[in-house]
Subunit: 346 residues, 2 copies
């Protein structure tokens, strides 16, 4: 069987801890994996001033995929590691689909009193390479009473159409075949118009997909009180960031939310990471839940064409989650990883 | 006692229905109110092409306050009524504080299984006159594969500082005295830096207020799984739009969410409106819940210095909500209005 060449970026805080468990599970799958670890993150930044050297970025292009833990530390001013490391990876490797399933597994406790697993089963297709994340903007007269700070959302037909097409394909592959555009067309009229027109036009090629539209404010509300409205969602970079965290909350917490930064054209490796951050407050204590990372590993396997292996990992997680109903909070990061690994191997 | 001069804009859809109940309650309070109704909205737009004529806007400046129902109809392209009527009112009347309490009243059903009233009691101070709502942006090569559409968030020291000061004052007036800035400083680095620096600087003048920071994505999650984290929140126009809808969802639904578009300097009348929209799907059927409008009337009374009257309306709503636990869905818009009116009249 083929050999997966994997670049691993554990990153900061709990990143290292959860990635270790993800790799354990990956090995148990039985596929040959060759991993190389990159020490990018806060520590390297403090020691060398480097976030993502060009040579490293070039090297990363040579892998089949990247597994990332978490990036960010309070010792580094906000934005530096995010922009120059995490977002640079997403942008330069053209991860134009940020794929984030929102799924309530049976047995998982949700803050929603009445939601059942069949009510929360969606996939958010978040645009990953433009919008307000482009970094456009500036500041004039900083620190004075006349200061003006701007941020610009940049949206292109090229960028919107490709992610919308991906979302339609995704919707077509699911039983409900429903795609909802989430935006704020009544206020962000220029960008919203481009998104809405693109969805309308592409929808003509997908007569079997039902399309719907929802403003971001209403969608955020429906995630809480009518999650069953949604199947596949397509949305811009910032709205996708926000609703996938609401999604994580309703589907049992940030400890379970997986994601893939996908380059569907395969011109560069895709990158898989838990939705959660580096959580410096609990780092190094074995308290982090590695499940989100393990589910991200399943997405990685699926992306590499190993659907059976991916399903096996997801099933192992599902089985573990059912058993958590009794006494789950007592297990460490490593114990959860070990238990899921045993299920995958077994 | 003084005579309130009130401009009423019922607007579209359920707007007319809920405003009628709000006015009924207002009259029952016993304060003398002189109302003038303005037919702004979709109907007028279709008949005359007018959204908000300058002469009408000037006239509106002469009132003590404005009560607004809801604006928007699917027959009008997205953005027209929102930008040229609703947002024009907020911007031109300098409603720089969009005040949105998020409060779970006893007896109200929340989708959160375990939340109690003491867990959900916050106030969102949403900036109302700048950010992405400024309407800045544009489109190039519309309708071609080379289209680029931009939206710009404009943030000024002037605009940020005044709303931040209002939020600190609000926090100081509440028992917990906690203020949380919600933004996305790690991605929106220019605007985020201005907001964060402003909160830091102003906080020195409020040593008794505890300040905190939360990214919008994390805050959206915490609204669902740790709402008790928050007391007063200050945030920009778009983030405030989104989290107050999540707030409405967790506090029992959009039918209960009130808001005030406040001009704290009183250079123009403030405007009070339910957070919900015109809901064309249920318009004209007596199905809309007028409670959000009635609570907005309470905010209006409070703004005009009638604290006792405001408290009386809020208490009447609170009492009605406790009784709804049995059979509330059977009442019409008008019946709910009548019942609350009867309680206010006492
Ligand atoms: C860390 C941050 C830049 C990132 C984002 O906003 O995309 C994170 O919140 C996420 O969702 O992966
Ligand atoms: C109708 C729309 C322009 C408005 C907004 O986005 O502010 C509404 O959602 C609100 O929250 O009052």
């Amino acid at each position: 069987s083929r050999n997966i060449r994997l670049a691993v970026i554990p990153g900061d805080g709990i990143g290292t801890e959860v990635v270790a468990e993800g790799l354990k599970v990956l090995e148990a799958v039985g596929t040959k994996v060759e991993t190389t670890t990159y020490d990018l993150g806060a520590k390297r930044y403090h020691e060398t001033g480097e976030t993502l050297p060009d040579a490293v970025l070039d090297e990363l292009r040579g892998y089949d995929a990247i597994l990332l833990g978490a990036i960010g530390d309070p010792s580094v001013p906000p934005g530096i590691l995010e922009r120059d490391l995490l977002l640079r990876l997403r942008f330069d490797l053209d991860h134009y689909v940020n794929l984030r399933p929102v799924k309530l597994f049976p047995g998982v406790e949700t803050p929603l009193g009445e939601a059942r697993p069949e009510d929360i089963d969606m996939v958010v297709v978040r645009e990953g390479t433009e919008g307000l994340y482009a970094g456009a903007g500036g500041v004039l007269r900083r620190g004075t009473p006349q200061e003006v700070a701007t941020q610009e959302s940049v949206n292109t037909a090229y960028g919107v159409e490709r992610v919308v097409r991906y979302a339609f394909d995704k919707a077509l592959s699911r039983p409900r075949r429903k795609l909802t555009l989430v935006h704020k067309t009544n206020v962000l009229t220029y960008a919203g118009d481009l998104w809405a027109r693109t969805v309308d036009r592409v929808s003509l090629e997908y007569p079997d997909v039902e399309t719907d539209y929802c403003h971001i404010d209403a969608a955020s509300m429906f995630f809480v009180n009518q999650p069953q409205r949604f199947d596949v969602i397509v949305t811009d970079n910032l709205f996708g960031d926000i609703i996938t965290d609401i999604g994580a909350a309703v589907a049992g917490g940030i400890g379970l939310a997986a994601s893939g930064n996908i380059n569907p054209d395969r011109t560069a490796p895709s990158m898989f990471e838990p939705v959660h951050g580096s959580a410096p407050d609990i780092a190094g204590q074995g308290k982090a839940d590695p499940t989100a990372t393990i589910l991200s590993v399943a997405m990685l396997l699926d992306h590499l064409g190993l659907a059976e292996e991916a399903a096996r990992v997801e099933q192992a997680v599902a089985d573990d989650l059912v058993e958590r109903q009794t006494g789950w909070s007592s297990r460490t990061t490593q114990e959860i990883g070990d238990d899921i690994t045993a299920r995958v191997a077994g």
